[in-house]
């Protein structure tokens, strides 16, 4: 195994600067690793020629002394970001042949920073799911144990980082889709504040919740990627027009005197796996030893975050996915004779089961007579949860929780009950509903060798705290050396 794959972003940039390594050499090493790990099915579209060209361009910049912030660093892109001239499927048969005529803002930003795109990686269809098992592109395997799920929906991004076939990756997080796969695969995943990273050019699922986020193998690399992904974008009406904070400046800062909230009802939640709870306890003790005080906090409406999320996300999905009608782009069912037939057959054949389920839930909650009972009610519950987060963050700097109630489940887990499956997101969804930000950091392993992730939650716009506390966990909790 090449030692090049073990280097962090910071170490690679130093090696480029000192002319010990070149982007061309590093890119070839990563492309070889991508080939060697094909059985994990992380990449749905490798783009080796594009990567080689970008690496060559990067090498020239390094030689001329005008290198960029992330020049020559290998990157995987979740196949939900539109990439100019490069197929973008969102994991769906519906977009199986879609070649975007434009580039998303986030992928544009990272390309402007000099990254080398290795390819597009797998996801749950239209980001709807937490296992990365879409029927169209096949399941992605967890590199730690291929019988287990890599999580989702940004499962391809997490698996590519964990199997050494990417150094950095882009994900999107609507209800935990960056943090949960990061926890399952032993890597770092960040859900920034909604609006920090532009949604322009990201295939829409639930527009009021969709948040692009960085994924990496360590906290510092994730911070570097966040720094170039984020920023105001006039093309996204919900983009935050405020300067992006410097997340590197205080990353090593002391935690002495900081207050860490522990949500009481989650701590007492019987459904949290004992090994996960043990890691959580250990992190609390480490933070106390570092001079933090632990504060039990109460968020009474948090138990309703999950049903609230499914009402809002499905309603928005039903509306957003109306555009897939077989007329303008994407799949059209063959042998249809009427317009109505074309719509229904195209959508019936083009969407997978989970997408159909969520569109139909959305149609129900938005229908006449039930809109107020479900959609309006869920909007008010969202307000309630947001105020509870605001109240709690008057007393604490961050909150500490596990990222998921259990380690990675097995890939063949029968999904007979969608509600049981949705429960997997119970610790991540409140962050999206509450409009705050969070990071998942690997913090330990189970006896069976699966990673366990912890989540730091900070108030909106306070991403530097995520990286500071995340770095503390990384430095003070057992390491999860990646399986490659």
């Amino acid at each position: 195994m090449s030692q090049i794959l073990k280097l962090t972003a910071w170490e690679l940039l130093t090696a480029y600067r000192n002319k010990e390594l070149s982007p061309v050499e590093v890119t070839e090493t990563y492309l070889n690793q991508m080939h060697a790990t094909q059985h994990h099915n992380a990449y749905v579209l490798p783009t080796p020629e594009r990567a080689r060209q970008q690496a060559k361009d990067s090498q020239e910049r390094w030689m001329k002394g005008n290198s960029l912030a992330l020049d020559g660093l290998p990157l995987a892109i979740k196949d939900v970001f539109c990439t100019l001239g490069v197929r973008t499927t969102a994991g769906s048969k519906m977009l199986g042949n879609f070649i975007p005529p434009y580039e998303s803002t986030v992928t544009h930003n990272v390309a402007q920073a000099g990254t080398v795109t290795l390819g597009k990686v797998n996801l749950d269809e239209f980001c709807m799911g937490s296992a990365t098992t879409p029927s169209f592109t096949g399941a992605t395997r967890n590199p730690w144990n291929t019988d287990h799920s890599c999580g989702g929906s940004s499962g391809g991004s997490a698996a590519a980082l964990a199997n050494g076939s990417a150094l950095l990756a882009l994900g999107t997080d609507t209800g935990g889709s960056v943090r949960q796969p990061a926890a399952f695969c032993g890597v770092v995943g960040v859900k920034p504040t909604y609006g920090r990273c532009s949604r322009w050019g990201v295939v829409a699922y639930a527009s009021s919740l969709d948040t692009p986020g960085p994924m990496a193998r360590n906290v510092r690399d994730a911070a570097m990627l966040f720094q170039v992904m984020a920023g105001y974008d006039a093309k996204d009406a919900t983009s935050i027009n405020q300067p992006v904070p410097d997340c590197m400046a205080n990353i090593e800062g002391s935690l002495r005197g900081k207050k860490v909230g522990i949500p009481a009802q989650w701590y007492e939640q019987a459904k949290i796996d004992p090994e996960v709870k043990e890691v959580w306890d250990k992190a609390m003790r480490a933070m106390e030893s570092a001079g933090c005080s632990l504060v039990p906090v109460n968020l009474p409406s948090m138990d309703y975050a999950l049903p609230c999320y499914y009402v809002l996300a499905c309603a928005e999905a039903a509306s957003n996915l109306q555009r897939y009608d077989g007329v303008k782009y994407g799949f059209r069912a063959p042998n249809v004779t009427t317009l109505e037939d074309m719509y229904t057959q195209t959508r019936g054949q083009g969407f997978g089961d989970e997408v159909k389920r969520r569109i139909m839930i959305g149609c129900f909650v938005l229908s006449h007579g039930y809109y107020d009972a479900y959609y309006t009610k869920a909007q008010k519950v969202r307000q309630l949860i947001q105020s509870e987060f605001q109240r709690v963050f008057c007393d604490v700097d961050v909150m500490l929780t596990p990222t998921t109630p259990t380690p990675a489940f097995t890939i063949d887990r029968p999904s007979q009950d969608p509600v049981a499956m949705y429960w997997n997101d119970i610790l991540t969804v409140p962050v999206n509903i509450g409009q705050v930000c969070a990071i998942s950091v690997p913090a330990g392993m189970t006896a069976h060798g699966l990673p366990i992730g912890l989540q730091i939650i900070a108030p909106a716009l306070h991403e530097p705290r995520l990286f500071q506390f995340g770095n503390f966990i990384e430095q003070n909790m057992p390491k999860c050396p990646l399986p490659f």
Binding site: I99, P101, Y102, G195, A234, A237, S239, N241, Y304, P307, Y310, V311, A318, Q322, D325, G326, V327, K328, Y329, G330, F331, R332, T337, T338, L339, D341, M342, Y343, T344, Q345, R347, G348, Q349, F351, D353, K356, R357, I359, M360, I361, C363, F364, V365, S367, H368, G369, Y370, A373, Y374, K377, A378, Q379, K380, V381, Q383, L384, S387, D417, P418, V419
Partner: protein, 114 residues
């Protein structure tokens, strides 16, 4: 009315929902698939119907939330960009992904019966 069988009135709320829809005689899953414009196979009707029953019962938990203390929703202020015409794409760019096209138009099955 149960979405799978169309017989058992499991949840009154959903029962009344479907009774209130335009076509009183339609099977409930048909009503939803018509709203969603999604054609389902007989097997999908059965499995999706059962799934949706479980989900609808679950999201009904929201009914018990006391929202008296929820503040009035003030949507965030969105910045509008200047309303200037910009050349972003050509017609050919836009049509390149169309499943069927002719003479710079999207082609669809015949709509008017003339």
């Amino acid at each position: 009315m149960d979405l799978t069988t169309g017989k058992q009135p499991n949840y009154n709320r959903f029962n009344s929902f479907f009774m209130g829809m335009m076509d009183m005689n339609a099977h409930p899953i048909d009503t939803l698939q018509r709203l969603a414009r999604i054609a389902l196979s007989p097997q999908e009707r059965e499995t999706l119907g059962a799934d949706l029953n479980r989900v609808f019962a679950w999201i009904s938990e929201l009914e018990s939330v006391d929202i008296q203390e929820a503040s009035h929703h003030t949507p965030p202020v969105m910045e509008l960009r200047a309303d200037n015409v910009q050349q972003q794409h050509t017609i050919d760019d836009v049509l390149q992904n169309a499943p069927a096209q002719r003479d710079h138009f999207f082609l669809v099955p015949k709509v008017l019966n003339v």
